[in-house]
Amino acid sequence: MQNTTAPAVSRAEAVKKYKKTSQFGETMKRMARNKAAVLGLIILVALILMSLCADFLYDYDTYVVKQNIADRLQWPSAQHPLGTDEFGRDLLARIVHGSRTSLLLSFAAVALSLAVGGFLGAIAGYYGKWLDNLLMRIMDVILAIPMTLFAMVIVAALGASTLNLVIALSVSQIPTFARVVRGAVLTVKDSEYIEAARAIGQRDLSIISAHVLPNCMAPIIVQTTLRIAATITSTASLSFLGLGVTAPTPEWGALLSTGRTFIRDSSYLTFFPGLFIMITILSLNLLGDGLRDALDPRLR
């Protein structure tokens, strides 16, 4: 009996052993071994949940916008865990709702520049020649201006508002993404499977979207994560300078800017919004580093 069942078991084991796991699964496994990256992911998910549930935690009109002068500038207490601002509004409520603005703006700006920059980079890398030359020289010009300054120039031209902030932040990052995607496309575009796809008569656009881009996702994903972190800082920076989100909408940089006015006696107004910005960026950096280690085969 034992002799007949033994080969069956070992065969099942052998199949299990050699069964190919997906690249996604492999990457996730490597990520899970990296404690710092997991911590980053957990913090980030918590922050996203916080911004999604903001309305259930604090009603926007009663807690975030409505002024209550009697309670102004109170230090943290049981009733107001992070204190109140100069109009008596609960700081925690404003930070929780501010996470919405900060995260949404940054995600939107990065998504927009990833789409535009990625498209430009992909066609530049794929077609090469004069198109590549032209597009990359234009990108070089934009890259010659320090990124924050370029965003400031765009806001200066368009005027300070939330939408203009998103436009400014995404336009100033287009070259970064164009370069990353172009570089990635160049590494795969001469592979045999691309040639095969071309040989069977696929159109260029579908080759780029179906074969080229999926095979160079790793650097794009890593760069996107790290760019979101940088964009959260830029969003906060521009709002801090009064060039971004305007009152009474809560945004972390704008909250810090208000806190600065009262820094002498109400330093908590400066401390807590900054702490949230730092934790968010820290989590994205941890995740980005972890993703890079997990995705980059050269570092394995």
Partner: protein, 308 residues
């Protein structure tokens, strides 16, 4: 070598033309009439027309741009809307402050980062390594202006050790330079560490050790020199964020540099001033990038041989 420098300087010209053109057209597309802004709403149409003509704003944009460029070559950056004085005077009187602050910040960041990175690499996986890399990670994640505010709160307002704002004495440099340098310090330290770790495992390090060279000489002379290239690259990449950061740092500490000037100009919708500040920042940025590239040649003879 000289041929290479000249070639690189010539390559700057199209970039500067491109940048000025881009920024010029973006800023000129701003809504609102600058003449109305200067004269106020009560001005008569004749006054408006006269000033428009005087400022050359009735000409096509391209003509205005060419005129601006001719002025730029001669060191003329136009007239500021807000003060009605030459932009160049204001920008160049403020520029030394930004330059000095950026230099001190760079020195602070490198002086802290390189020892930190080397020690972390040499003592890999010890408490020292973990603590310094944790500090570096915090440094990367901290918004610069928040750090600046916290430093100001603790050292100026609570302890009274340093002035709160301005650039009156050498003490006023300490807090802004540290705030500005800390972020760059963090990424430079991380790069130095990983580059050192890679170098320490090379065969020539083992050779040096086995022939009896003392540990400190191995680290200083054999490993560090070879690990320097990535560190320089990161320092070069940081310059853009340093210039962007100087805008925030100068705003927090009321520093009289061009970063703060630019923020004030944006609030006042002073287009020539914003343009002037951006052009100066960009020229600096390009020149520093060129210097960083030349530095490679001094550190690595292999790269130097490629210049000729």
């Amino acid at each position: 070598m000289i041929k290479y420098v000249v070639k690189r300087l010539l390559a700057l010209i199209p970039v500067i033309i491109g940048v000025t053109m881009l920024v010029f057209f973006i800023l000129k597309s701003a809504p609102g009439d600058p003449v109305r802004l200067i004269l106020g709403e009560q001005a008569t149409p004749e006054q408006v027309a006269e000033l428009t003509e005087q400022m050359g704003l009735d000409q096509p944009l391209l003509v205005q741009y060419v005129k601006y460029m001719i002025g730029l070559v001669q060191g003329d950056l136009g007239i500021a809307y807000s003060t009605r004085r030459p932009v160049a005077d204001e920008v160049f009187s403020r520029f030394p402050y930004t330059l000095k602050l950026s230099l001190v910040a760079t020195v602070v960041s490198i002086a802290l980062a390189i020892p930190l990175g080397i020690i972390a690499a040499v003592k890999q996986n010890t408490v020292i390594d973990n603590v310094s890399m944790f500090v570096a990670l915090i440094g990367i994640s901290m918004p610069m202006f928040w750090l600046a505010l916290l430093l100001m709160l603790l050292f100026s307002l609570k302890l009274g050790w340093f002035p709160v704002s301005g650039a009156a004495s050498w003490q006023s440099y300490i807090l802004p330079a540290f705030a500005l340098g800390f972020m760059n310090m963090a990424s430079t330290a991380r790069t130095t560490r990983s580059s050192m770790l890679e170098t320490i495992r090379q065969d020539y390090i083992r050779t040096a050790r086995s022939k009896g060279v003392s540990n400190s000489v191995v680290i200083r002379k054999h490993a560090f020199k070879n690990a320097l290239i990535p560190t320089i690259t990161v320092c070069g990449l940081q310059i853009g964020s340093l210039l962007g950061g100087s805008v925030l740092c100068e705003t927090v500490f009321a520093w009289p540099g061009i970063g703060r000037l630019m923020v004030q100009a944006i609030s006042a919708r002073d287009v020539p001033m914003v343009l002037g500040c951006t052009v100066i920042f960009t020229i600096c940025f390009s020149i520093v990038n060129l210097l960083v590239d030349l530095l490679y040649g001094f550190v690595d003879p292999r790269i130097k041989s490629m210049y000729s």
